[in-house]
Structure formats: C-alpha cells, structure tokens
Amino acid sequence: MLAVIGLLGFGLLSKGRAKIAVGDPVPDKVLPALPGPGRGSIAEHRGEWALVNLWASWCIPCRQEAPVLERFYRRNRAHNVTVIGIDVEDNRDDAVAFLHEHPTTYPQLRSVGDERSAAFGSSGVPENFLVDPEGRLALIWRGPVDEALLRRRVEPLIRGRARH
C-alpha cells in the first residue's frame, strides 16, 4: 500500500514534461523537414543564433506570428541569425497548407505528436526559444512574439554577444 501511495506521489510530482532553463543545452533531435523532402535539426545551425519557434496550423496566434518571424529572419540573416520552425501536435497536410498560406523562407521541421513539445517543456503553442551559437538556451518565451518583443528582448541579446 505504501509503495502504491509512493508511486502515485512520484507520478504527481513528475508530469512527464521536461523542465528546461536558460543556459541549458537546447533539446534537439533530427526531424523531417516541412514540406520535405529531407531532414534537419537545430544542431546543424551550431555557430549561429537560432530562434526556435514551436507552432501548429490550428494555432490562431501562430498566423500573426509567422510573418513577424519571417521579417526578423530576413532582417538578421546576414548577421548569422536563423529561425527554425518546428510544427508540433499537428497533421502534415494542415501544416503544409499553413506554410502555403503563410510562406516562410527559414527552415521548417515537423515533430509527430507532442514529442518535441514535451522535450521543450511546452504547455502550448506558439513558444519561442533563442539558442546561442554554442547550442545553449539564451531566452525562453512561452507565447507569441511580435516586432516589439523581438527588437526589445531578442535582438539586444544577439548584438550583445556579437560585440564580445
């Protein structure tokens, strides 16, 4: 009986979602590219700043966020900065249709189910993670980003590091 109670207690304390923090290595995995073919990972962008964006086609704020991220990508691409979209908890056809409707030129990957959301300790979409050139998390933003936030919070981090 004590073992059962202990197990239940342990289960309640560990919800099965990863806890990540600024300074941790970014959770990474080789994933299928969207719309494909091919595969990709965050590690391929080591040496660059990468803004990892978790999104889904059914997510309404993601529709406003996609063009903002595209502008950020184009504005900073020359400064060794990339954006990596990861479609989560979605079906592929809807995700491809979303990218036709909201075209992006930055790399897009697809995670089946909630596997990547769980790895990032995500509780919803969109969520954004700034990864430094060494592959460590520099900023965790659990929600949509807009121009103001990118200019106020993300770009100073990138430029600050670039000066060193």
Binding site: G11, G16, E89, D90, G113
Partner: protein
C-alpha cells in the same frame, strides 16, 4: 460484334463498382471521435471543440469519406499526432501509475495468497476458520443447559 462492343461497357461498370465500394464509408466520424483523444485537450475528441480538435475532426472526416477502416484511421492518426491520440495512458510520469498500480496490486495479492496457503497448510485448517469437533468446557456446559431448556 455485340460482345466486343459490350466489353468496354462491362469493364467500365466493374471499375465503377470497385471504386464505389472502396470509397464507401466503413466507419463513421462519430464512432472514431468517441474512441480517440484530442491530444492537446486531454479529452475524448467528441468532447472537445478546440481549434486543434476541429482540425483533427476534419482529418478524420476526410479519411472516413475516403473509405478507410477504423483501424486504418487510427493508424493514420497515430502517424500524424503520435500515440497520445489513442485513449491510452503514456508510459511516463503520472500516467505510468496506470500500468504499475494494477501490476503491484496483482503481485501483492499473489504474495498474500501464498502466505495464507502456507499458513493454512501448516495449521491443517484455514486460519481463523471454524473448529471442528464437539464443544468442550464452558461451551459444552452452555449447550447442555440450552438443550435441557428445550426438552424435546
């Protein structure tokens, strides 16, 4: 001549029948919605109307209309949304207890049963069971007194 002319018509009819049977629904959207989850909402798909659930329902409806079977649709849902789309607990975190608690309960029950059987075999009678044979001592006296009151 007539047979030669009828041949393409028969072939076309057969193709039409085959296509129609392939696309005929083998299950219903309602049936599937009652058996799979909306992974984001954590509820059965039929109970949710969130944006993700609406897209999942549309995907199910497309597969039903294409004549896919229930098993094929569930496989496709797992491919798209992962195993959490099936109404089965995950084998991690709190959900792990759904698998472990029954297992532990079975092991504990087997151990307790084993101890009881061993104890019963040692004593020669089930533990705490009724004792066989005639009453003795105070019990025998009380029985005699009771019987004498009902002088049958």
């Amino acid at each position: 001549m007539l047979a030669a002319a009828a041949l393409p018509l028969v072939a076309a009819l057969l193709t039409l029948v085959a296509t129609a049977s392939a696309a005929a629904p083998k299950t219903s959207v309602t049936e599937i919605e009652g058996e799979v989850m909306c992974p984001i909402c954590g509820t059965l798909l039929e109970l949710s109307d969130s944006p993700q659930a609406q897209r999942e329902k549309a995907y199910v409806a497309k597969l039903v209309a294409a004549g896919k079977s229930k098993a094929e649709i569930k496989d496709a849902l797992v491919t798209q949304y992962g195993r959490s789309v099936l109404a089965q607990p995950k084998a991690s975190g709190f959900d792990l207890s759904a698998y472990l608690v029954p297992l532990i309960a079975i092991v504990v029950a087997i151990v307790l049963l084993g101890f009881s059987v061993l104890r019963w075999r040692r004593t020669g009678s089930p533990p705490d069971g009724p004792t066989a044979g005639a009453p003795r001592g105070a019990d025998a006296e009380r029985l005699e007194a009771d019987l004498s009151r009902y002088d049958l």
